[in-house]
Chain length 397, copies 2
């Protein structure tokens, strides 16, 4: 497998572009991903009971398990907007279908931004009609989906599968309201691989559990999130079946793309200066390991300690203790970087100079060995900073 | 029922004092509550799997359902301190028993402060021996249990029960690591009422669910928390039985004392400038109502919005949506103060001037009517501020 420079349109037969329609003041706020042929598609959505209108429209579109286009706007979330919001979401889908000359049920839509505001439909309509795939600038799509993100988030990988070069690309946005179970996070993955929609859905559901659902910025699960995967088959590989060497390669690509996007989202959390990775081993099952890892990266006290570059293992073991697993509180080993802080729950002497250097880095790895089993899991978060407060207290509805 | 000025030693037969032993630099750090006669006692403890040594010692002491003294230190939590920590906790109990001339199994101990540090036993020993109940200064106890708290927290109430004047007093400390299920929170309640230990325990367990377990500062559940209640019977009322008018009066006193202390803790959360009270009505059951209320006051995005004095109902409805209840997302009514923001989940026009004045106050009340049942619940939290980051990022282990 190779990581290459590229865009969400790098896999064969995909195009993408974005522009400034006018939902935001200056920045790009409307984008499209398009496949020359209908692609097999899979999706996962927010678990929030309060779901935005585009979630319902896209769910309906996905019933036939194929998609040919995804239209996304930022600036307005179209959440808590009632019947008018639903009508607007359907109209956005219809406008895109007409402009791109594809079946309406093959168009997914997504929105992100302010809750409770109606989409300005004239702006959306003009914007959609200006989307020009002939003069496509795929990286403009990466920009068009951002809200308080400070950078675009993309990764492209290639691999030979069943004799053909297969490309997979992913793009995401995150930043605030980021928590397990699909927070204000949008991620789109395209590939030219030939694989059934059913197998794609199985894989997406599995990998979401260990990647996108293992990140947290602030514990808030948003109303709008989704991950969409499109596989259009134009790589012309013979179809990828489950339990094959080809599927293993495809899974590895998918894992790398998903985990990389997840980490990018965590690292670019609102106000963040550091990525925190918690690695939990020695759990009785993988779910327990992931739960403990997520509690560690979700703890405000751990997050502020990492911001303050303090090896505060007391706050970490406290988070392990309230994670709700049946941890043995006397058996915990713990490391920050390669410096051991606890052995069988007892404080260890460590090299303060090396610890200081470790904590000054941009990625902080916290390892916890529970010593009660053999399973493991990871989670990712970011530090909690003055800037997070600034971003969220000064933001006005 | 009357609220009066007083201290934890106001109920008949109680004494209390505190002093600076030397665990902290300058502030008081050791205190004692003492009852002339053994008192019926009840307790609840942290649910964190990692429990501090004093929790185990106090649990053992409570087996006989009576206590005559509570000794508390701040500065060092005696948590994650292994066998030595357990020995030190038992020694602290023994020293206090000898000094006060009471049975060791009638002495409870509690600690709060830094995790992972051993108690300096010579400092503890000298301190305990200097505790002088002849020259008792009860308010010094209120100070001695504080950590990053900015003020003491106490309330005293009186009521005529079964012909006698009964007094009940409560004192607490909170500030950080405050979350449901007993966070770094210590609360002590004394009363001269005559009531069985069993009924006291039932009442404490019930009321903890709706008061102390409904506050959150930062979502972290500490290793050291406990609430202890002592009833020494010196008011000489005839014993309070369940399902009686006397019990109803006693419950009302207990409810007021517990809820007042809980709110004081939430309001004095680390860095807080405002108390947030969430009132949820129209739930199918009380547990669901409390769950939704707690998610609202626990949301970092709601907390920063309140700090920024912004009526961001989108963040509030988002928290309602991910609370895990089977809320109907189309039926939600919402108010901040007396200004309605949502009706059947649709935004309402409100008076911006009144809203601004409401959000400038020190107590912000968020009301949510779910319209799916008849039960209700409350929770309390505080805003999330620059100061919280400062307190927790600059704190070094």
């Amino acid at each position: 497998m190779q990581i290459i420079d590229g865009t969400i349109a790098s896999p064969k037969g995909f195009q993408a572009t974005g522009l400034h329609a006018g939902l935001k003041k200056i920045k790009k706020d409307l984008g499209v991903i398009y496949s020359e042929v209908p692609a097999n598609a899979a999706a996962v959505y927010t678990t929030n009971q309060v779901k935005a209108a585009p979630i319902f429209v896209t769910k309906t579109a996905l019933k036939n398990q194929t998609l040919q286009a995804i239209v996304v706007n930022s600036g307005v979330a179209n959440a808590c907007t009632g019947k008018i919001g639903m009508e607007n979401a359907k109209k956005m889908q219809a406008l895109a279908a007409a402009h791109l000359a594809v079946d309406q049920e093959n168009v997914a839509i997504a929105s992100t931004g302010v809750i409770g505001k109606q989409l300005p439909m004239s702006v959306i309509e003009t914007g959609i009609n200006e989307l020009d795939l002939q003069k496509a600038e795929p990286s403009a799509f990466h920009e068009a989906i951002l809200t308080t993100d400070t950078n675009t988030k993309e990764i492209v990988v290639t691999e030979k599968i069943n004799g053909q070069l297969v490309t997979m690309a992913g793009v995401a946005k995150g930043s605030g309201m980021i928590h397990p179970n699909m927070a204000t996070m949008l991620a789109f993955i395209t590939t030219d691989a030939c694989i059934s929609a059913q197998l794609l859905q199985t894989l997406l559901a599995q990998k979401t559990e260990t990647t996108f659902n293992q990140i947290t910025v602030d514990g808030d699960t948003s109303t709008n999130d989704m991950v969409l995967v499109l596989a259009n088959g134009l790589a012309k590989n013979s179809v990828i079946e489950e339990n094959s060497a080809a599927y293993e390669k495809f899974v590895a690509m998918f894992q790398l793309v998903s985990e990389t996007l997840a980490k990018m989202i965590a690292k670019d959390g609102e106000g963040a200066t550091k990525l925190i990775e918690a690695q939990v081993t020695g759990a009785r099952d993988a779910l327990e390991a992931r739960l403990v890892a997520k509690k560690i990266v979700g703890s405000s006290l751990v997050k502020t300690a990492i911001f303050g570059e303090d090896p505060n293992w007391g706050r970490i073991i406290c988070a392990v203790g309230y994670a709700g697993s049946q941890t043995d509180p006397e058996k915990i080993d713990m490391w920050i970087g390669n410096q051991q802080l606890l052995k069988q729950s007892q404080p260890q002497l460590f090299n303060k100079k090396i610890m200081k250097e470790t904590l000054e880095k941009e990625t902080i790895i916290i390892k916890v060995e529970l010593n009660i089993g053999t399973e493991s899991g990871k989670a990712w978060g970011c530090d909690l900073t003055y800037k997070y407060i600034e971003v969220n207290a000064l933001y006005h509805t």
